[in-house]
């Protein structure tokens, strides 16, 4: 990297508060306390040299020197005797001389950039298998030293201009659909068209399997990546989501930053091959010269912004999950012994630092290395468990994220999840050996969300257990205040994502875990929450040439967000030339490009319309937008190259035009019957109209209320069911029964003055039978309607029915006659003559 310029501007912590003073580190911050029992495992002679000359030397001695001077670390070479490798900052004869040497290899303002850190991280004699883990441990020791010396307010960031790079060439989607049609489209129409087509039985957008090739292409473009085909959504949808594969789905594996898909015969493999074929037909082209672009840079070419402002002075175990490969997650607390975690079961490394825990997976330390947690916490009588987690599920029962325990019934402490609650179990004098009763966040508060959250459990005898989420106390009160944790067991093991007995599986992403041997205060917890998690960079996009502003940049805070995307936040226009005060720089329609392409998804700044003015510009630059956005990863954080493109930047413009959407051709269901049925309310109203009984009649209203939802709701014949018919029968019987018993309605409805015992005769052969039948038939069928059955036919059916009823039980009483009349009425009005619409 060619650092032509190092700005005097320094960003203090993540708040990006700029200061012009070189040595001032910002005031305030939490007080620090040196971790007491940090005993190195390697052998080191007792120190007999001169006492530390100053407080800073003492801080150096306690936090850094005591850890590195041992024989199995730096003290093996960088000592005072043999081989006395310079700089001999690990010499054991004189701490003051070691201090002087150490100052040549450390950067207390920005510990992660210290020479000793970069050298060891680069592979120089790390005492662990992962050089990055050693680098992190050294960073922690230096940070602790710096924190003890200057108040722990955090590290300083110096903005460094990236190298000058133009936007690279790339493959862009051709306007013609021919290549798509020859490669990917056949797969889509063969395997996806049952859903992802507008004429599917249950159409499911996006319609990339449409029979209209133009429409399909339009929808398929966002799902394909011609520059890195393996990043295509079509591939991950099969390999990762296992989404309706037509054969074995295949798997996607990322190891040491390299992602592969297999087997080739899997759905994912076939899709990948097709997209590769498509990409192979598309030539690599230079970026469109008409675009108004910034210069380009990769993530690593930004200025590191992470690691600042955490309060870690009392950390005794820390996991940052930076290794990214293998089966060990290192404890980078720097407190010996390292309680490294062994990954087992469904646990995979996540992009942007972290582990993804699947069903049954866990990460567990040995009982011997976990013992330090017991020992150090027992010494203080208080502690904190801190984690950045993203639960994958919001329906979970007793799923454990962080546990220091001996099985499902024995524990010292546990951070768990029950649905949308965080659970806190802890053994104490007020609990049983399983840490019950537990403390939990309120169910109604639904504190736990399926997103990245900062969760902190604290305990001290005065305040008892407390739960903080995203820097804020959940205000749950511990009924066990004042207890003791002297009954903890030192034979337990620390485990993440499960119980040591593997029967409390938790699923989700764990990006960070730390255990402190002090109860962090609320401000310290908030400080750590604000510090965030993961590595972040200040990305300086050079726009000097276009804007005419000397050393003018649009600066983003960028990070790998997770395995699928980058996070971009806080776009700021800034000049690294402190003598410049930009004015009247118009910025409109800003888009983030990757590898020569401008993704269509996630362009939160495409609506940006602002102007940088001298009045609004400060030494920290001018913030262009408060919102952040995520942009999908393409080839990976090591190689993805970003740039910005603008609709207008300064006086230069580029008109972005969107493709014209293609209208979806109508699709038609099978032709339905020309007629249907009356629905529930229509039936009720119709029966009321036919019988003359008002719908408000108490008896019919009661029956209607009972059967209302049993009556047809859908008017189509196809949906009519026998249950509907039963409901109609019940309601029509009630209407007819009410009508029969309402004298004023009888004449009009039945054609006779009243329903007497003689109306039908004993066997249903009296003249009244025909009179009543004809009246009912005429009423329901009407006259002169060829779409209705002949009234005479309906009447004949009714006469027959009345005859049968009176034969089975003689119609010699008025009650019987009324019952038969009501039955005839219900038969007439409860049938299709009434129902058909």
């Amino acid at each position: 990297m060619n650092f032509k310029y190092i700005s005097s501007l320094r960003l203090v912590g993540l708040g990006a508060v700029l200061s012009l003073a070189v040595t001032a580190c910002g005031g305030g911050g939490a007080p620090t306390t040196a971790t007491g029992a940090t005993a190195p495992t390697g052998s080191a002679n007792a120190y007999t040299g001169p006492a530390a000359a100053t407080a800073d030397v003492q801080a150096f001695a306690v936090n850094f020197w005591a850890n590195v001077r041992v024989q199995n670390r730096c003290g093996q070479c960088h000592n005072a005797t043999s081989p006395a490798q310079m700089p001999n900052f690990a010499r054991s004869d004189d701490v003051n001389l070691a201090y002087a040497q150490a100052n040549t290899v450390v950067n207390l303002q920005q510990p992660s950039t210290s020479l000793i850190v970069t050298k060891v991280s680069g592979g120089h004699n790390c005492w662990l298998a992962d050089p990055n883990a050693c680098g992190e441990i050294l960073t922690t020791w230096i940070s602790n030293w710096a924190g003890a010396s200057v108040g722990g307010t955090g590290t300083q960031v110096q903005l460094k201009p990236p190298p000058a790079q133009n936007v690279g060439s790339s493959k862009n989607f051709p306007a013609s659909t021919a290549n798509f049609q020859a490669t990917v489209y056949p797969l889509l129409t063969q395997y996806c068209s049952k859903c992802h087509a507008p004429d599917a039985a249950t159409p499911q957008s996006p319609y990339f399997a449409s029979s209209d090739i133009n429409q399909a292409y339009q929808y398929a473009i966002p799902k394909m990546n011609l520059n890195t085909p393996i990043s295509s959504r079509f591939v991950s949808r099969m390999a990762v989501d296992q989404h309706n594969c037509w054969t074995v789905c295949g798997t996607m594996v990322t190891d040491a930053g390299v992602t592969t898909v297999g087997p080739a015969s899997s759905s994912a493999g076939i899709f990948l091959a097709a997209i590769k074929n498509f990409a192979g037909m598309v030539p690599t082209t230079a970026v469109d010269a008409s675009l108004v672009n910034s210069q380009a840079l990769t993530l690593a070419q930004g200025t590191i912004a992470s690691g600042a402002n955490r309060f870690d002075s009392n950390v005794i175990a820390k996991y940052e999950f930076q290794t990214g490969t293998g089966l060990v997650a290192y404890d980078t607390s720097g407190v010996d012994p390292s309680a490294d975690l062994s990954l087992s079961g469904s646990v995979s490394w996540a992009g942007g630092w972290g582990i993804t825990v699947g069903a049954g997976g866990k990460a567990q330390a040995s009982t011997s290395s976990s013992k330090k947690i017991h020992d150090l916490i027992e010494a203080t009588g208080e502690y904190t468990v801190e984690a950045w987690v993203a639960p994958a599920l919001v329906a979970a029962d007793k799923s454990y994220m962080v546990s220091y325990s001996g099985g499902d019934t024995l524990r010292n402490f546990t951070l768990g999840q029950t649905n949308q609650n965080y659970d806190y179990l802890m053994r104490s004098s007020g609990s049983d050996l399983n840490g019950m009763p537990q403390l939990a966040t309120p169910t109604a508060a639904t504190v736990l969300q399926a997103t990245l959250q900062h969760v902190v459990l604290t305990y001290d005898p005065v305040n008892g257990r407390q739960i903080y989420v995203n820097g804020v106390s959940t205000n749950v009160t511990d009924p066990q205040k004042g207890g003791s944790i002297a009954n903890w067991d030192d034979t337990f093991a620390l485990v993440l994502g499960n119980e040591v007995s593997s029967d409390r599986s938790w699923q989700g992403l764990i990006k960070f875990v730390a255990i402190h041997d002090r109860a962090l205060t609320a401000p310290q917890i908030l400080q750590n929450f604000n510090a965030g998690v993961g590595q972040r960079f200040f990305l300086l996009f050079n726009v000097a040439a276009t804007t005419g502003v000397s050393q003018g940049y649009v600066m983003f805070t960028g990070a790998q967000y997770d395995s699928a995307s980058y996070l971009f936040t806080s776009p700021t226009f800034i000049s690294l030339d402190s003598t410049v005060k930009p004015d009247n720089v118009v910025i409109k329609g800003m888009r983030i490009g990757i590898n020569g392409n401008i993704p269509t998804v996630g362009q939160a700044y495409s609506t940006l319309d602002t102007t940088v003015t001298a009045a609004n510009y400060t030494a920290a630059g001018q913030l262009l937008s408060k919102v952040g956005t995520v942009i999908a990863i393409q080839s990976g954080p090591l190689t993805d190259q970003f740039f910005l493109s603008f609709d207008q930047l300064g006086s230069k413009t580029h008109v972005t035009t969107e493709p014209t959407p293609i209208a979806i051709a109508p699709s038609y269901p099978p032709m339905a019957a020309a007629v249907g049925v009356r629905t529930f309310a229509q039936i009720n109203a119709t029966l009321s109209k036919l019988t003359g009984v008002p719908t408000t009649n108490a008896a019919v209203m009661q029956t209607y209320t009972t059967v209302q939802q049993q009556l047809p709701v859908d008017p189509t014949l196809e949906s009519f069911s026998s249950a509907n018919q039963v409901g109609i029968a019940q309601l029509s019987i009630q209407y007819c029964n009410t009508a029969v018993n309402t004298p004023t309605l009888v004449q009009a409805l039945f054609g006779v003055p009243s329903i007497t015992s003689a109306v039908f005769g004993a066997t249903g052969t009296a003249a009244g039978t025909t009179t009543v039948s004809n009246a009912l038939a005429a009423r329901v069928v009407g006259t002169g309607l060829t779409s209705q059955p002949p009234a005479i036919a309906v009447s004949g059916e009714l006469i027959t029915m009345i005859g049968k009823l009176c034969t089975s039980s003689a119609c010699t009483t008025q009650a019987r006659a009324q019952a038969v009349a009501a039955a005839a009425c219900a038969a007439a009005f409860g049938g299709s003559e009434m129902l058909i619409n």
């Binding site: 997103t451 995520v630 339905a672 020309a674």
Partner: protein, 413 residues
Amino acid sequence: MKYGMAKPEMNGTRRAQPTPRGATHLLRAVLCAGTFTLLSANALAITKDQAKRIYDRIAGVPATDAQLTTMAGGTANAAAQLATQDPAFYNNTVRNMATPWTNRDQTVFAPLNDYTATVIGMVRDNIPFNTLLSADIIYTADAAAGVPAYSNSNNDMYEALDTDGADLKMHLQQKVQSAVTGLPTAATAGVLTTRASAYAFFMDGTNRRMYRFTMMNHLCADLQTIPDITRPPDRIRQDVTRSPGGDSGLFLNNCIECHSSMDPMAQAFAYYNYSYNVAADPTGAAGSIVYTAGQVQPKYFINNTNFPQGYVTPDDSWANRMRGGVNSLLGWDIAANPSGSGSGAKSLGSELEGSTAFASCQVSRVFKYVCLRAPSTTADTTQVNTMTASFKSGGYSLRQVFIDAAVYCTAGM
């Protein structure tokens, strides 16, 4: 075999049980209907059978024989006009079409309420239906109905109309919504700001529900039918995680396709809430709509640490991001509002009801309601397009749409 729904016998096979009488008649009616669709009816003087079907489809109840005789001498249009005068058209047909719009469960078995009553009243009075989502209008019971007065905190008036079986055509009266409910005039947005609507869609949650159900009910566009992942996500609020369960791929491929358009639209409701006593009235039945002019409701800031870099709602300004992209096909009225943005529910309602999708949705729904089928042929599609054009150019009379649909679907009997 469903009772009453006998299938024709095929190739000499016989059913094991005798055909129920109702089924026989039903089958006969179906066959008769099929026969008559083959006949060519006089374009002016309709048959009695066509008159019956027109009346049945619109009013839902049979006409009297005298009415049928009268209608048979006239045109189909006149017959349909007569059918819309039947109280059952309002009490049943319009009411049951509108009722599912007014509750979260989309059930038709819900009590009458001010939302439904307003729809019924607007159809009865031929109020331009393209003011449904924006006008300062509400329908209440008249004094003659003898029911409790309108209340902001209960639905008693409308439930009493239900219980009494009141003739809604007769007893509903048009009122100025702001005068009835006390909302500021500028805060009224037709049926959106009725109590029933607030109860269903402003209660709890984040007010996105109001947007979704409005789109579903009045543009016939549920969220999954109008996804567009290309819209800028700058207005998506903080409560939407960009990495669900640690996988931002879900956000970039799923969440964003709805939220990028929904959140800037739902911002129009930033000052609305539905207030109720959670402890004493957990269902919210006694709650009321709340409007806090100039002050964004706290619900817009819940779970704001899910994505701290998300959008923080400052006011009730809205933006229609669907003016671009694939959902520009919804046919927005650019001339009426060139910017595609505004403030508050009223102007959002105007934006929605000015779209072609709004008009097409109302027409298509009525078509299905009257014809008992969705458009199933190119002729049907042409007819719906024609009716949509007429609806828009003819003063947005929904009653006329019923008439036009009935005339079309019964022609040729």
